[in-house]
Amino acid sequence: MSLDKDNHLGEELIIRALIDETDLSEAARRHLAECPLCRGEKEKLEQDLFQFGRIAKQNSPVPKGRISLPERRRRGRIGWFWNWQAASGMAALAMILLVVISWNALFRAQPEFSMVATNQELIEAEEFMTEVEVLVNNALPAVYLDISGESYMEVDEEFIDYVVPAEYEDLSRYDDGKTKIGGERLC
């Protein structure tokens, strides 16, 4: 305990007592309880400080308006239903988008699918062109082909060669294959 020369509480202990008397030692507390001088000193300081607070309060304005609080949003059944509907709609939309994106991604990620499709298209186109070619070459119906002699078109080539030998075969016999037909050596 720090007492001054007259065995009273010093300024430090008076302030400590003002802040919290229980922080003082037992001896200092006992002295404060018994000594009217020290108690008076402490009470005076305390009064001054709280008086200061009171004066500050008196010199302060008062709030002019009342606090306005925001309304809390209440979710009724309609609100919940609406939220549920909105959430479902959003989920469905998200699913559709997901499917579309996945579909595109799937096809882009697997080029053989597109290759298969392209090959199929080529085959179909080729078949179509063959049909067109047949029609161009044999425009007449089958009935008229016999009359026009077109039905004999598919006679064996060897038989034709036998009946009408090719001209270059004759030439090759005399010049040992050195003669060209159409700029091409025969052997």
Partner: protein, 209 residues
């Protein structure tokens, strides 16, 4: 005549803690009426607390409004209803800090000067207030400002909370989120400086006179 003479004010300090706690519990459950009662109890305290730190009634009005709106929105998160007052003051302390931070930021870019801080224009307190009252009040706050400027930020905060806002040591510790021993240390240093300051006694003498 002082501002306080004009209108009586309720203060939460006079209400029993159990009553406040019960209102807080009801407010947490969504009962707006209960929160309205809490506003009635603490609006004056919070307004003054902000005014002490801003010295502008208009800013104090705005900040007090923000404090209660934030408290209203978050009251359900308050775990201990008994700590409502400390919690409310801690919101207010943070709002005041934000206010000063924004002020410094504006001042940095020349959007706001120190002169703008005056704060409390004549006649702000009411039409029935005469010029002498206004001058007396301004002198008082100038003196208070001079005294408080001699304290560090923490000493000043603790001192104002204890002797102007009437909070106990434990409440101050809760508001500032510090240990009680830390609060006591700051308060001790503040009181030491204050006691040696003759201007405080002069200020009190003038007011008493």
């Amino acid at each position: 005549m002082t501002h306080q003479d004009q209108r009586p004010q309720k203060t939460g300090a006079r209400e029993p803690a159990s009553h406040i706690a019960s209102l807080v519990e009801r407010a947490s459950g969504g009962e707006k009426g209960a929160f309205d009662q809490l506003v009635d109890m603490f609006q004056g305290d919070i307004f003054r607390m902000v005014y002490y730190r801003t010295r502008s009634p208009m800013d104090a009005e705005d900040i007090t409004q923000d404090v209660f709106v934030q408290a209203y929105k978050n009251v359900s998160r308050l775990h201990s209803p008994k700590q409502f007052k400390s919690w409310l003051f801690s919101i207010a302390v943070n709002k005041v800090r934000d206010f000063h931070r924004k002020g410094k930021f504006r001042a940095l870019f020349g959007l706001y000067t120190e002169g703008d801080e005056e704060r409390d224009p004549p006649g702000e307190g009411g039409n029935d207030e005469n010029a002498l009252d206004i001058m007396t009040r301004k002198d008082f706050w100038r003196g208070v400002g001079g005294l408080l400027d001699k304290l560090s930020t923490m000493e000043r905060e603790v001192f104002i909370l204890r002797f102007m806002d009437d909070l106990g040591i434990r409440e101050i510790a809760e508001v500032l989120k510090k240990q009680e021993s830390t609060v006591k240390t700051h308060l001790y240093r503040a009181l030491e400086k204050f006691r040696r300051e003759p201007s405080m006694r002069e200020l009190l003498r003038e007011e008493r006179g």
